[in-house]
Subunit: 205 residues, 2 copies
DNA sequence: TCCTCGACTGACCGCGCGTTCAGCGCGGTG
DNA sequence: CACCGCGCTGAACGCGCGGTCAGTCGAGGA
């Protein structure tokens, strides 16, 4: 089945609008990003958006799914690559830092979705759609940690909690890097994170 | 100078409204917490709020300052107590977990303020008022880490980045605990955090 | 008892948002 | 060339918000 002209146009419009949505939401935050501004950013009229998305909610939801897919694809590839757990942890951290370095504006959207806002029904919907994505990430990492524990590479601790700690540690550094004028080379921060996580901060007595 | 009756009433009103604001913002999120609902929660009319706070912005700002003050007071006390760095780290983590366990609803407000929303001017204002508080926390901890490094208790690494990692690690666990029906005892999680941070997750070869 | 004062109220206002839809213009067709 | 269909437009609508202010009412003084 080859793509018809209409399909190509449709795909292009959807993509333009989603990219505009990411830019505006990243700039203004989820709550203050208006349909008007997203439309202007995409170079279409406000009404046009409603030809491709039922309402604001669907636009945000689909946009987020598309955008986060790219990040998770890269991180999962690193997690499932060959090598010791240390090597994979390093690759994963590198992938995350590199992604947010190239998509600095996406970070705010990513963060906003973790803490749902809005009416109760909006919150429930956002939770149903987004939490599984975060949850899935945590559980993949937890699985990898469990395997590393069984292989004797990692101390036997609660895998889920460790996964959360690993993820949030790199998130903290990404956030700091975004606030810095000239962040240090990515590899420096990757080393700091990996070294801290693996060996801890204490000097053994 | 003793308090007059009017002062007592005034203080009571301000406190009621602020407590209501915390509850509503925690429930609905910063963006969807309306003045109407805050007024209802406080048991006053909407107009009454404007007798004690200039506008919505000032209410949120003052409320946050009051609320976060309590948390930071407790954490700083733990940080400045006597003992080894490990003991103080343990005390600090314990204080944080205990605080959010007793003020579960406050956590969302705390998180929302980290990532400012709203118009550009609102964002700037929120940044000027709230970032210093977070910044101060990071720098206090960074100072303590530096001292511990000089004392040979901690490996010589970038203190500021380490401080961020320590803070976010416990934040990650707090968030998970809030989502859990029956979280494990606080002390278990404190031990996990402290142990992971100090010794790392790897099994030395 | 009546008057005064000011804390408190809540209907009301203007604004800005998401959403709609009547109409416009353009590429394709006979 | 006349006609049609359809993707697109943006003025207009309703709604719900933050903020206002004329009016209410009960405590306290004369």
């Amino acid at each position: 089945m080859i793509k018809s002209k209409e399909d190509i146009v449709q795909e292009f419009r959807v993509q333009s609008i989603q990219e505009a949505a990411i830019r505006v939401i990243s700039r203004k935050g989820m709550a203050s990003a208006t349909m008007q501004e997203i439309a202007e950013e995409a170079g279409v009229a406000k009404g046009t958006i409603y030809l491709y998305f039922r309402d604001r909610e669907e636009l945000v939801e689909k946009t987020f799914e598309t955008a986060i897919g790219e990040l998770h694809k890269q991180v999962d590839a690193a997690l499932e690559s060959e090598g010791s757990f240390e090597q994979r942890l390093r690759a994963m951290t590198m992938a995350k830092l590199a992604f947010f370095n190239q998509n600095r504006e996406f970070f705010r959207l990513y963060h906003t979705l973790k803490m749902p806002e809005g009416s109760a029904s909006q919150q429930r919907r956002q939770k149903r759609n987004c939490q599984p994505q975060f949850q899935a990430r945590v559980e993949r990492l937890a699985g990898a940690l469990k395997a590393a524990m069984d292989a004797g590479e990692v101390r036997p601790l609660d895998p889920k909690r460790l996964a959360l700690i690993l993820i949030e540690t790199s998130t903290a550094i990404v956030l700091e890097r975004l606030n810095e004028e000239t962040p240090p080379p990515e590899s420096d921060d990757v080393e700091l994170i990996v070294s801290t996580l693996l060996s801890g901060i204490a000097i053994p007595k």
